[in-house]
């Protein structure tokens, strides 16, 4: 039996109002220990108010082979960005 504990990805909410952000990973035997270890490893300088842990092998990622097909089509939709539109300077709060 291998005793290498599985890898977990750790996400920390730095303070109320912010999203959880990926901060790193660690090994833990199970979820209960993973969240505790994450507390000790990643928030010992008061870096967080909430923690998520996710088994690394449970993450589904977009494939780097398809990254052109995935992300390039969004590149030319300039009309999705507010700077695309010209409005007179005297029109405030737009």
């Amino acid at each position: 039996m291998t005793s290498q504990w599985p890898l977990w990805e750790v996400f920390v909410r730095a303070k109320r109002g912010l999203s959880h952000i990926h901060v790193g990973s660690l090994h833990a035997p199970d979820a209960a220990m993973a969240v505790r270890n994450a507390r000790d490893v990643y928030t010992r300088r008061g870096e967080g108010v909430s923690i998520w842990v996710v088994p690394s092998d449970q993450i589904t990622a977009s494939s780097p082979d398809e990254k052109d097909a995935f992300f390039d089509p969004a590149g030319d939709k300039v009309y999705r960005h507010p700077t695309f539109y010209e409005v007179p300077a005297e029109a405030k709060h737009l």
Partner: protein
């Protein structure tokens, strides 16, 4: 699927644009292998480095110093952990890397094979060894491999406390009793050259590290040469030694107006190679300690894994 050449071109396009390579990107096998070796060696150094300072936690001369030292050594465990995780994104496991360390197939920094004989050594390590590490590591926060660079950002933030506490501990000694001041000078005498050796072999001459540096620079996993970093460290450290009122054990150390740098005596590189090969004062002791900790913990790791498996079965 793109062809090999096309993939390689895409890799170098990112490198040339000073972009970051991420785990699932295509990368040349040699780049991957070099990174694994470098990150692993770095991770091993962090965890072996816990021992020489950990040696003084039980004897720290005040409760305040005890707390500081405990927190510092704990940080080093964290650093090892961040770095093993960065290496794992390249397809090796922490277990595999530890096995290589335990089998002496991967190395760690030569500096940790020197003994901490007095309390002042703890201060000297914080000031010089962490100082040298910071000099090495700050450029790595811009390293081309994303996970390594991010680990270095986190580590560098924590390291600055390490260096300052070491300096402060030494300053307290040099402002203390004659015995304390002598202890501080003795520590500097013993740690100065091993600290200079931390930057590795020289760039030129017989002992130069043939070709590695150039390739690593091309790949953006090394930003400055060993001698550039060593010089930077000396230039930074000499004025600090004056604040401490300690004498760096180098009669030829002097400011060179023309170069705008300090001239200094290089460390004994033969000694460096000997220690790296295993013939240092504490190599055997450090490794034996590490292996014992790993083996003594095996039943605990197994128990936790078995418990997790049982719970999963029940849930399924």
């Amino acid at each position: 699927m793109a062809g090999t050449e096309e993939r390689e071109a895409a890799f170098y396009a990112i490198i040339d644009a000073d972009g970051r390579i991420e785990p699932r990107d295509d990368m040349p096998e040699a780049y991957r292998r070099t990174l694994v070796r470098q990150i692993a060696q770095h991770a091993h150094s962090e965890i072996i480095g816990m021992q020489p300072e950990g040696n003084w936690i039980s004897r720290a001369p005040s409760l305040r110093r005890k707390a500081i030292l405990l927190a510092k050594v704990q940080d080093e465990a964290g650093h090892g952990l961040y770095l093993y995780a960065a290496a794992e994104t390249l397809g090796v496991s922490r277990d595999q890397l530890l096995e290589l360390l335990h089998a002496r197939k991967q190395k760690y920094s030569s500096i940790f094979n020197y003994p901490t004989l007095t309390w002042a050594d703890v201060g000297a390590i914080g000031w010089l060894v962490d100082g040298a590490a910071i000099t090495n590591q700050v450029p790595l926060t811009r390293c081309s491999y994303g996970p390594y660079a991010r680990a270095m950002v986190r580590i560098c933030k924590e390291e600055s406390f390490h260096q300052r506490q070491g300096f402060e501990a030494l300053l307290t000694l040099t402002r203390g009793t004659p015995a304390q001041k002598a202890m501080a000078q003795d520590a500097l005498d013993r740690w100065w050259y091993p600290s200079l050796a931390m930057f590795g072999p020289p760039d030129t001459g017989e002992q130069a590290s043939g070709g590695h540096t150039e390739q690593s620079m091309r790949w953006g996993i090394k930003r400055f040469t060993n001698d550039e970093l060593r010089q930077r460290f000396v230039d930074m450290t000499v004025p600090q030694s004056q604040v401490l009122g300690l004498t760096i054990p180098d009669p030829d150390l002097r400011w060179n107006e023309e170069r705008g740098h300090y001239d200094f005596t290089p460390p004994d590189y033969d000694e460096l190679f000997r220690v790296i090969k295993g013939d240092g004062p504490c190599n055997a002791q450090r490794l034996a300690h590490r292996v014992a900790a790993h083996e003594d913990g095996a039943w605990v790791r197994e128990a936790a894994a078995a418990y997790a498996a049982k719970k999963q079965e029940v849930a399924a």
